[in-house]
């Protein structure tokens, strides 16, 4: 077929860029993960040490801790945001239908620079002059600094994360609510369902795909969260808020341990790609259903 040959020209520039900035670096990191680098040797060489870096990883308690922290942050954050987001969507859908301008306003925290969101967290939670930190101190809920305390630092990050992402889930679900077909409601009305039955039997099943897409994006995001934690706690106190991405950063750019850092990166990448596969399938199912 004569057209098949020049398909290549359409994708070639992107393929080259993809190769140079993504694939080659990725393979480089893969080779690094089998090597050891020391401060004295040149960066480009490194010594081949087989799977030693991965073996070290298996026995690294901090590595497990980072996954533990990620899940300790992720699970409550997503449950909280899912419930609040749904409630918020049901509340605002009517208003949004009349005033679309509410969508950008609501989404401001979601799209604002994460570093600024982190700064908002640091300042509002400041025990001496922060709007929220002062109240927490006055009510005796927290002694001293919220972010300086190992038991309150992670909840604080979850709170800031919830501030940032609840509007996102709410807006996605609102889009779902506004796109709902009318026929099932008419059918439910004919069948004499009450509003609560209608919600669980009609609204929720129709809204479910939107929920899945929003939640999967959030789950994957949880493995990327870095900026906000870096601004608020730098993973501390101790390793109390050290999520996977923060841990990987510490081992690569703080300790300049390229071999071990690369092994870490590979493990994280495999983990992400499994999650993405679920997301991808959900997206495809979703698109096929449309």
């Amino acid at each position: 077929m004569s057209s098949r040959r020049y398909i290549l020209w359409w994708v070639l520039p992107a393929a080259i860029l993809f190769l140079v900035i993504i694939l080659i670096p990725f393979v480089t990191a893969l080779t690094f993960s089998f090597r050891s680098f020391s401060f004295t040797s040149s960066v480009s060489t490194g010594q081949y040490i087989g799977v030693d870096n991965y073996r070290k990883l298996v026995f690294d308690n901090d590595f497990y801790n980072s996954f533990r922290v990620t899940f300790l942050y992720l699970v409550p954050a997503i449950v909280l945001q899912g419930i609040l987001g749904l409630g918020m969507a049901l509340l605002i859908a009517g208003a949004v239908r009349r005033a679309r301008v509410l969508i950008p306003i609501m989404l401001l925290p979601t799209l604002l620079t994460p570093v600024v969101i982190g700064l908002i967290g640091v300042l509002t939670l400041n025990p001496d002059f922060g709007v929220i930190g002062q109240l927490l101190k006055k009510w005796g809920l927290v002694q001293g600094s919220v972010l300086g305390n190992a038991s309150t630092a992670l909840p604080a990050i979850i709170a800031v994360d919830t501030y940032q992402w609840t509007p996102f889930i709410a807006v996605i679900l609102t889009a779902g609510l506004l796109a709902l077909p009318k026929e099932p409601y008419e059918a439910a009305q004919v069948d004499g369902a009450n509003p609560i039955q209608t919600f669980f039997r009609v609204t929720m099943p129709l809204l479910w795909p939107y929920f899945i897409v929003a939640l999967l994006i959030r789950v994957i995001d949880a493995f990327r969260i870095f900026d906000i934690i870096w601004v608020m706690t730098r993973g501390g106190p101790g390793t109390a808020t050290e999520t996977v991405a923060v841990y990987a950063y510490r081992h690569t750019f703080r300790y300049w341990d390229f071999g071990y850092g690369s092994a870490l990166i590979m493990v994280i990448f495999v983990f992400i790609s499994i999650l993405v596969e679920y997301l991808y399938k959900a997206l495809q199912r979703w698109q096929a259903a449309q």
Binding site: L17, L90, L111, T124, L279, L283
Partner: protein
């Protein structure tokens, strides 16, 4: 209870009037609560914004100062006297260059993915999505090493190329969803009208996705503007974008909060502006086109 469900609730003629007024009341209550929610979510940002217009004493006051005479001193100090306006320019250079490059390269690719029988199409897409979703730290290390070898560290090339690692997949992914929305008959019509594939793309299809391209570009600019890690490790002081610089201004002691807030405000205003410009495409961009906004 859903809004839709309310709309279809049966109303018997006898109590129609009272049902209507109670429903209207419910609607007004929901508007009021929506307004409250908006205020609730905007408040922390606005409060931090306000700190940039306060003096140090006003900021550090144990009793929060609600009424004060705004001052621009923090802005003058941080942007002009300390020369941090450069950071804003740097952010702009990096974001605009990366996005321009990825739009020019990515849009034809997205069209090809939408229209041509590319072998392994879905696998490529899965890979693109995986790299888009991986934490920045995955590629930050090898990019640092490779850019060091290529003597790109400290030039704008390093953050621009690094930002392409997430912008290019995003452009390809989202633009494909826009192209998929256009019926293939339009291509067929243009081609039988005498246009080659490339001319069809330029004259018949691109005009149809103009607003889509603008949306994707603005979205990408936001993401690029917000990026922190690449901007931190792949740059020098001369090329560092503003988002990557802000955390270094926060110290354990003696942080100049007024100036930090002034800089953060300056950095977040363009984003806020872009969000409003994007209004119609926000949902689609945030959900990668899976949900049409």
């Amino acid at each position: 209870m859903s809004v839709e469900a309310q709309t279809f609730r049966p109303i018997s003629p006898a109590n129609k009037a009272s049902a209507l007024s109670s429903r209207r009341l419910l609607t007004y209550v929901s508007y009021l609560l929506t307004a409250l929610l908006v205020v609730l979510f905007l408040f922390p940002w606005l409060w931090v914004l306000s700190l940039g217009f306060k003096t140090r004493a006003e900021i550090m006051s144990p009793n929060i100062v609600w009424f004060w005479t705004p001052t621009l001193n923090n802005y003058i100090e941080v942007l002009i006297n300390k020369g941090y306006w450069r950071l804003i320019i740097n952010s702009l250079i990096v974001a605009v260059s990366a996005v321009a490059l990825c739009i020019v390269i990515g849009v034809p690719t997205a069209y090809a993915f939408s229209r041509f029988p590319i072998p392994g199409k879905e696998s490529w897409f899965y890979m693109i999505l995986t790299f888009r979703m991986a934490p920045a730290v995955v590629l930050a290390l090898p990019l640092y090493v490779l850019f060091a070898r290529a003597k790109l560290l400290g030039t704008f090339g390093a953050p621009i190329l690094a930002h392409c690692t997430f912008t290019l997949p995003f452009v390809i992914w989202l633009m494909r969803s826009f192209f998929d929305d256009i019926p293939k008959e339009i291509d067929a019509a243009a081609m039988t009208d005498g246009y080659s594939r490339w001319e069809t793309f330029l004259y018949a299809i691109l005009p149809l996705v103009k607003s889509g391209i603008v949306a994707v570009a603005l979205f990408s600019i936001i993401f690029s503007w917000n990026e922190f890690l690449y901007g931190l490790i792949l740059t020098s002081d001369a090329t560092r974008p503003v988002a990557s610089q802000i955390p270094s201004l926060i110290r354990p002691h003696g942080t100049l909060w007024g100036e930090v807030c002034a800089l953060a405000t300056t950095a977040s205003l363009p984003v806020a502006f872009l969000i409003f410009a994007l209004q119609r495409q926000l949902v689609r961009g945030l959900s990668f086109g899976a949900i049409k906004g």
